[in-house]
Symmetry: C2
Subunit: 323 residues, 2 copies
């Protein structure tokens, strides 16, 4: 009962934009501090007003600088902006390497901008839930826009941005083969294509590549959204950022007027539930594997008595799905 | 009984290096064709002789070109080489984009080299198992070296190379912030650091960065492996590739002489079982989510009656762990 009242007043402080409470809520949820479930529920119930913007792209596409410039333009238009940036540092190094977060420094003294970096730590994942929780807190804190930024490599990283209402995929001219491959895989996610570093020589080639890929897609029917291609320069003398915000607003209007907003909201809920369930299952698997029987099973694989697929299937049968 | 005999003669043809059988076995396992479990078991029992080499690095580090040059040098030394290359194309585009695989063309008419590309398709993963299966087949086909190449971004991609006896992490001079972050996260995986494109200007800076990072690590005790830093140029006029193979052979000798080989083999078995079990669990989750109760649960999240964490936990409780 006491906890319940606490959670409620906590949520009220967050809704008032109280920054220490926002920071604390994200940390409590991330650490799964006692009472975190109730807090999460109260925050979820309080939210649902923010526009969630997902930004992804290959490494080196200048996403962080773009987020910085985009935030500046959104602020000019009077919007309060929350940012959740997922750092692609691996589980091994254990923490976020915040190099490019420093560029966000320009907004640190703006009370209407809140930046939270999350590291991709923990070999059993957890980054999806941590990201979703941070979005939930910033949504409950009544930020008009919540930007989620991830590097678009790896399935989990890609799924994270799919909780957004609008997905921006950032490409840059030039670059090597495997970055091009990553880019190709991401393009179909895009509601808006951003060609960043558009002051580079090869920009027209890239824009026409993306445009021709879009032309190959099924013919736009009524109610179909044709993803625009917006050219930006985010560093030094920024350009195209106003056009990007216009495109974003157009997409928001389109979602609202066609009823696609409900579809997106539903998709976001499904991705959240599925990803969190996946993380919980992997944790249970981890618990199970500390047992002797697991170690014996591994020994039988090492000695080539049994194959890894058979042993894995046996392990999974321990998680009985009720009929 | 018939199936059992078939699987055995199939495995014998594979052990003789019969290329169509190798290709067919990888495809049968990937498609989970009826009988695939028995085939997988028979192949697993027949293997265990190959040296497995994992190669990973940030996008753009020239891994594929390096694998090509490395294969050439291993062939000069009389070794038969199997290659499993995981393409980082996303689930969305549906298939591998084989751009840089074309560079492997030089080896296509060499009967002692076998290249298999796998795409990172299917939103529920499956790439770990597909990769492990391909390694199992190439191991059973008595290739001396089996190279597994992945882009080192995303937890699954990183875990895949950890089934190797020796892990090579490829870095390149220059590059932007987020590639540096990825690199930093990968470095601790390395048994051998490869600084590729070593004809670039900033090479000494990168080598000294890696070296100083290594110096920060706990002091080498007896039986400790100090990862060497090898500078290579893989394109045009290759250099350093012979030194790389020497370093690889030294690591293999070290694994054998210290008993660490068993430890690595055990680690590989554990990663295989855990990753396959994870993929199986996620599939079961997918099956479950087609049911009406799942759709009702999502609707309660969308309407903000219940939060995604609570609903996910409820879903996972359907997978009861036996006490």
């Amino acid at each position: 009962m006491t906890v319940s009242l606490d959670a409620m007043s906590f949520v009220e402080r967050i809704a008032d934009g109280h920054r220490p409470s926002i920071a604390q809520a994200i940390s409590l949820l991330e650490a799964r501090h006692p009472g975190f479930e109730e807090l999460g529920e109260a925050l979820w119930a309080a939210g649902g007003t923010a526009r969630v913007i997902g930004i992804t792209g290959a490494p080196g596409s200048g996403k962080s600088t773009l987020v910085n410039a985009l935030t500046r333009e959104l602020r000019v238009r009077g919007r309060r902006v929350g940012i959740v940036a997922v750092d692609p540092s691996s589980s091994i190094s254990g923490g976020a390497i915040l190099g490019d977060r420093i560029r966000m420094g320009e907004h640190t003294r703006d009370g209407n901008v809140y930046v939270r970096s999350l590291s991709n730590r923990g070999s059993l994942g957890g980054i999806s839930r941590a990201t979703f929780d941070a979005v939930t807190v910033l949504d409950a804190a009544r930020f008009d826009d919540v930007i989620v930024e991830t590097v678009g490599v790896g399935q989990a990283e890609v799924d994270i941005v799919r909780v957004a209402h609008s997905v921006l995929v950032v490409s840059v001219p030039g670059f090597g083969d495997d970055i091009q491959m990553i880019k190709a895989g991401l393009l179909e996610l895009a509601d808006i294509h951003v060609v960043n570093k558009a002051d580079r020589p090869d920009v027209h080639k890239l824009v026409s590549e993306i445009t021709s890929m879009l032309t190959l897609e099924p013919r736009p029917e009524s109610g179909h959204w044709s993803p625009p291609v917006v050219e930006t320069v985010a560093l030094a003398a920024p350009s195209g950022i106003d056009a990007l915000v216009d495109a974003l607003n157009l997409h928001t209007d389109w979602l609202r007027s066609t009823g696609k907003l409900e579809e997106r909201t539903r998709r976001a809920a499904e991705i959240r539930v599925r990803e969190i369930a996946k993380e919980l299952l992997v944790e249970s698997l981890q618990d199970l594997s500390a047992e002797d029987t697991f170690q014996d099973a591994i020994a039988s694989v090492t000695s080539r008595k049994r194959g890894p697929c058979v042993v894995a299937a046996e392990l999974v049968r321990c998680f009985a799905v009720p009929s």
